[in-house]
Amino acid sequence: MKLVYFSWIREKLGMAEEDVTPPEHVGTVGELLDWLGSRSEAFEKVLEHDKVIRVAVDRVHIDDHATPIDGAQEIALFPPMTGG
């Protein structure tokens, strides 16, 4: 699965995207974030702000971290939007 990052999350991680293969036990958005936090210090620091981190699964906003990620192709992490 592809992960894509935007705004200060992209800057803090030092990359715009990466391909990952989460272990079997990672089944939801919340579990994915926890697993990503356990993989790197940079990600752990990003997750200190996890209250404001927004997630899109296959380019659709996800409000509930219990949402399954089974079969997802692209998961995006970004801060609250400031366009318009």
Binding site: V4, F6, S7, W8, V52, A56, R59, V60, H61, E74, A76, F78, P79, P80, M81, T82, G83, G84
Partner: protein, 154 residues
């Protein structure tokens, strides 16, 4: 016959008059055209530019979703939303929404709704470029924008 909104994500500027013309030309059933143009401010000289980052794969789809909601909710005869990305200087355009209807209330409300949702749902992020050459900050989301969007929820 359902209205097909015009949605564009682009780096280049847009032309307000031309976009209005596209929605109104040759029609005799339109009573009200409301346009909203959002521009880059220099914040009392503090900024030389804003950088607009966006999520290319999602921005168009998300704005189209918002536009479909507006079209379902108000009796519109036309709807356009154009959002720029990249580096934008103070005084330049950032975003354009045009809502066209028989009566003014639908046009005003739909344009206002579009802007509230573009602010809070469209995947764009603004970074400041300060005039003093310092490292710019990412603009923080305003809670007023969330509450402004919330007023449209039933």
């Amino acid at each position: 016959m359902s209205v097909e909104p015009t949605i564009r994500i682009q780096q280049q500027d847009f032309d307000l008059a031309a976009e209005v013309e596209r929605l109104t030309q040759g029609r005799r059933d339109i009573g009200a055209v409301v346009t909203f143009t959002g521009l880059c401010r220099d914040e009392d000289g503090r900024l030389v530019a804003l950088e607009l980052e966006h999520y290319p794969g999602m921005a168009q789809d998300e704005i189209a979703r918002i536009a479909r909601q507006a079209i379902e909710r108000w009796p519109l005869t036309g709807l356009t939303a154009i959002h720029r990305h990249g580096r934008i200087a103070p005084g330049e355009n950032i975003v354009l929404v045009i809502a066209v209807a028989s009566h003014r209330q639908a046009a005003f409300e739909a344009a206002s709704f579009m802007m509230d949702y573009l602010k809070t749902r469209a995947p764009f992020w603004k970074k400041e470029h300060p005039a003093d050459g310092s490292q710019g900050e990412w603009v923080e989301a305003r809670s007023e924008d969330d509450s402004s969007a919330a007023r449209w929820e039933d």
